[in-house]
Subunit: 426 residues, 2 copies
Amino acid sequence: MPITANNPTRKTWIKTRAKTDFPIQNIPFGVFLTRDDIITIGTRIGDTAIDLGALHQLGYFEGIPLTDDIFLQDSLNDFISDGKKTWRLVRNRIAEIFDEENDRLKNNEEHRKIVLFTLEEIEMQLPVSVGDYTDFYSSIEHATNVGQMFRDPDNALLPNWLHMPVAYHGRSSSIIPSDIPVHRPQGQKLVNGEDQPIFGPSRLVDFELEMAFITTDANLLGEPIPIAEAEDYIFGLVLFNDWSARDIQKWEYVPLGPFLAKNFASSISPWIVTLDALEPYRTASPKPIKEQLPYLQYKGAKSFDINLEVAIKPENLKETVVSKSNFKHMYWNMSQQLAHHTINGCPVNSGDLMGSGTISGPTPDSYGSMLELSWRGEKPVQLKEGGSRKFIDDNDTVIIRGHCEKNGVRIGFGEVSTKLLPVYKK
Amino acid sequence: MPITANNPTRKTWIKTRAKTDFPIQNIPFGVFLTRDDIITIGTRIGDTAIDLGALHQLGYFEGIPLTDDIFLQDSLNDFISDGKKTWRLVRNRIAEIFDEENDRLKNNEEHRKIVLFTLEEIEMQLPVSVGDYTDFYSSIEHATNVGQMFRDPDNALLPNWLHMPVAYHGRSSSIIPSDIPVHRPQGQKLVNGEDQPIFGPSRLVDFELEMAFITTDANLLGEPIPIAEAEDYIFGLVLFNDWSARDIQKWEYVPLGPFLAKNFASSISPWIVTLDALEPYRTASPKPIKEQLPYLQYKGAKSFDINLEVAIKPENLKETVVSKSNFKHMYWNMSQQLAHHTINGCPVNSGDLMGSGTISGPTPDSYGSMLELSWRGEKPVQLKEGGSRKFIDDNDTVIIRGHCEKNGVRIGFGEVSTKLLPVYKK
C-alpha cells in the first residue's frame, strides 16, 4: 500500500509556519489532555493539535477497520497493536482530510471547533504505556569515547562490541514526557582513593542524546524476529534523553550494569514520528568493521538521516547548543537491534521502547553526553550565558531537538525539554 | 488492624490434606480461567480454588470498600493498588467465610457451585501484569561462589557488594507462570581461546532458585521510600526461576550486565502468598559484615524463614531434589532492596516484581543454580533417574517449591514447574 501521506507536494488548509517540524507530510501520533480535560489520541499539523477521537466519532475514518474507542484512550498501545497496515490507512486518511483541496472538515466550522486545538489548549502525555524499555549502546563513537576514558585508550571497544548490538534493560516506570522536571538524584558514590562509599546528591548529572523506537506486538515467547521483517514491527521514533548520574554509575555498575544511575528518569518527546514518515530519509548505516553473524546481516538502507542537537538553558538565560549529531552515525541499526533482542525468543510487545544509546558523532562537537563533551570534566563546555558546564547544574533545562530535511520537506520531532531540579526534599 | 486470618487454630469446612501448602491460614491470591472460560481473581484452600469475583457478586464482601469489578479482572494490579488495609480486610473476611463455624456459604449449595472449583477445572494465569521487573543479587553465598569461579578466589565479592543490594533491570515481557514450557535459547557464544563468536543453541541452560516480591504503588517520581515504611508496599511473594544461559551470559554481560542470557524466560509460581500470611515466620537477616549507610539500616526482623527446594525431573522419569535452601540466607532483605531501589526517586508501582537473586545457602547442597551445584560443570550432579547433569537437558522439568512451618501451621507457595523444550523451530 503506497504511503500517500508522504506526498511532498501536498499542501494543507491548516496554517503552518514555513519551518515547522510538523508539515502535513509528518502526521505524528501522541496523547493529550484537551481543554475539556478529556484524554485522547491526536496528531499535529503545524501548531494545531488534532483530536483523532473526535474525528473518528464524526465519521472521518469510515471504511478503515477501527474499533469505536481506538483513539479515546490514554495510550497508543491498542492502536499500535492494530499493525502497520492500519497505521498507514489512518495516516493517509489524515493527509486527505487536511489537504487544501478537501473541503469536508475545512468548511465545517462546527466540526473544526470539536476537532482542532491550539497547543496552549492541550497538555501532552506519555504517548504509550511502556511495557519494557531496552537501551542499546550502538554508537561506536560513544562506546569508544567511554572505553578510552574508563578502560584502555588503545583497546577502547570491548571484545563483544563489534559482534552484537550490546544492550541492557532499563526502567519503564520513570519514562516521562517532555516538560516534566526531574530531581537531582541521591545515592552512593565512592570518592577516589577511598574504600567506603559516601551518600549524597549526584554531582555528575548528565544527559544522553538518544532516539528511541516504539514497537508493536512482534513475536510470541520463543520466536525470533528475522532481520528482514524487523521494520514491520517498528511504529515510530521519539527523541530520548536518558538521564545519567555518572558518579552513582561508576560505583554501582560492575558487574550487573547501570541501575540507580539511570532509572531516576528518562525523558521522551511526546509526538511519535512514524517510520513511514521517515521513509524519504533512509540512508546506509556505517560499513561493518568486522563480519557480522548471519542473523544480523541485512540488505538495503536501514538507517535514517536525522539531524539532532542538544541545548542547555540555564534558568532565565539564553540557551546554548552544545552538541550537533545525527542518528545515521549509529553503527547498529534498529533492524539489527530488534533481530538481536529476539534471537533468544524474548517477546516484544506493543508500546515497548528501545533506546539507541548515546548518539555521538565523529567530532568533539557532536558528542552526545557531557561526559564526552567535557571529557570527564577536564574541558568545561562554555555556554553563551550562564558560565560553563562540566555536567548539568540545578535548574538547567536540557533540550534535545531532531529533524530530517530533504527536497524542501522537513519532518521533525519537536523537542524533549527537561529541567533538572535540586535534590527532592519532603 | 489485627491479621485475624492468621489465627493458627482456625479450621475450615473445605476438605484439605494434612500437609497442604494452602491451609485456611494461607489465603494467597491468584488469577485463573474458570471452566466457563471466565477470567477471575481467586484464592485457594487445600485443593479447592475459590472465585473471589463470584463471592463478591454474591455479597460476601459487604462492608469492605471494593469496586464492583475489582476481582473480575485479568490481573491483581488494581486490587493491589487498593493497599494493605484492603488486602487485610479481604483476607480476614475470606478466613471467616471458610471457617468451619460459619454456615453461610457452607450450607448454600447454589452459591458453592458458583464459587468453588477443583484445580482441574481452572487454569492458572500470570497473577499480575508486571510493569517493571528488577532482579537483585542479594545472597552472599551466591555472589561469593560466582566471584570465586569467574574472578578472584581470594577477593570473590566486588567492592560495592557489601555496601548495597546490587541489582539490574530484567525483562517483564518474558515472565511466565508455572507450567508454561520454555525453549532452549540460541545466541552468540565465544569458545574458549577463540576471538570470533559462534551462533547456536545455549549449551549451558541453568535455573536460578529465587523468590520475588510484588509491590503496590509506593512513591512518585523523585520520592524515596524510607526503609521503615518499605514493607507497607509489599503485597506478597512468589517462587521465581530466573532461567539463565551461562554461555550467552559470559560473552555478552560486560559492561552493561545480563541481557539475552536472561530475558528469554523467568517463571513464577501462580499464587501470591501475602506478606501478612508470612508474618509468623519472620526471622533476622544475617548480621552485616560492614556497616551500612543510614538509608539501609533497619530495626527488627525483616527476613522470613522459608524453606526452598529445587528438583529436576527428566522426561517420564522420577524427579531428584538437587538443592535445599532458605530465603532467610539473603544478606540484603526486601526492605533494604526497596529502600535502595527508590533512594534516587525511581517510582515503584502496583504489580512490579522484585527478584531476590539466586538464593544459595552456605553448604554445597544448598546452592541455588547448576552453575554452583556442578561448580561450572566440574562436578556433575547425580540424579536418581536419568543420569547426571552439569546444566539442564532438553525436556527436563525444573520444579521449585517453598514453604514455611511453625507451631503446626504450614504456609506454602505450591510450586513453579517449567519444562525446557529443545530449540524453537518455525
